[in-house]
């Protein structure tokens, strides 16, 4: 079946360092991806999205890179802060009518 998955279940980084969270997808026809952040006790929150006609998109302290050749995308967080600690999900389309989520990566930021 279709899947959007993540390589690492947990990522620990030191405050101030950059974080990179990876995601692989299997459907080469996928044309839209979203990164979500879920803090403890809260619902997923939109961070950034990217369409397949782009390789890179930048937001505030975050950058998403899309490599369609190897069906991989990543979320880079610059100067990681304690408030960035959360579970991060990549999500992509299955067919045209639903968003499916990867398994999530827990980001832990230590001082």
């Amino acid at each position: 079946g279709e899947s959007v998955g993540l390589h690492l279940p947990t990522l620990s980084v030191q405050e101030g360092d950059n974080s990179i969270i990876n995601c692989a997808y299997s459907n080469s026809a996928s044309d839209y991806f979203i990164w979500y952040k879920q803090e403890s006790g809260k619902g997923p929150q939109f961070i950034i999205d990217i369409r397949s006609n782009m390789d890179k998109r930048q937001g505030q302290r975050v950058t998403v890179l899309l490599n369609k050749t190897v069906k991989h995308l990543s979320l880079q967080i610059a100067a990681t802060q304690p408030g960035d600690s959360a579970v991060y999900f990549c999500a992509g389309p299955y067919n045209t009518d639903k968003l499916i989520f990867g398994t999530g990566t827990r980001l832990q930021v230590f001082p």
Binding site: Q38, K42, G43, P44, F46, T96, D97, K98, L99, G104
Partner: protein, 113 residues
């Protein structure tokens, strides 16, 4: 000012009971969803409604019945609750049908004992 709100936030109930979770969005969105998140944080879509019409109905036991009285509300009723129903249930909404940015509620943590 909450965009997508669910009630209750926590729900503890005994096996065999029937319970409902309510969801409301004030974003003017046309499409609403229910997702289930298990203990490993895996998020799986259950249902979606577009303008009160059922669009997606994943392989979910028929003990789960969504109801959308209007496009701003999508409730989830669960009959004969089982231990395996314990999870966090999230309501979400999108501007239209199809894959686009979804706004999520805070979740309802359901515990069946």
């Amino acid at each position: 000012d909450t965009a997508v709100s669910q009630t209750p936030k926590y729900l503890v109930t005994q096996m065999g009971n029937d319970k409902s979770i309510k969801c409301e969005q004030n974003l003017g969105h046309d499409t609403m969803y229910w997702y289930k998140q298990d203990s490993k944080k895996f998020l799986k879509i259950m249902f979606s409604y577009n303008n009160k019409e059922l669009i997606i109905n994943e392989t979910v036991p028929n003990r789960f019945s969504p109801k959308s009285p209007d496009k701003a509300h999508l409730n989830l009723h669960i009959n004969s609750l089982e231990l395996g129903d314990s999870a966090v249930y999230f309501c979400a909404s999108t501007r239209g049908q199809g894959v686009t940015e979804a706004f999520f509620g805070q979740g309802t943590r359901l515990t069946v004992v």
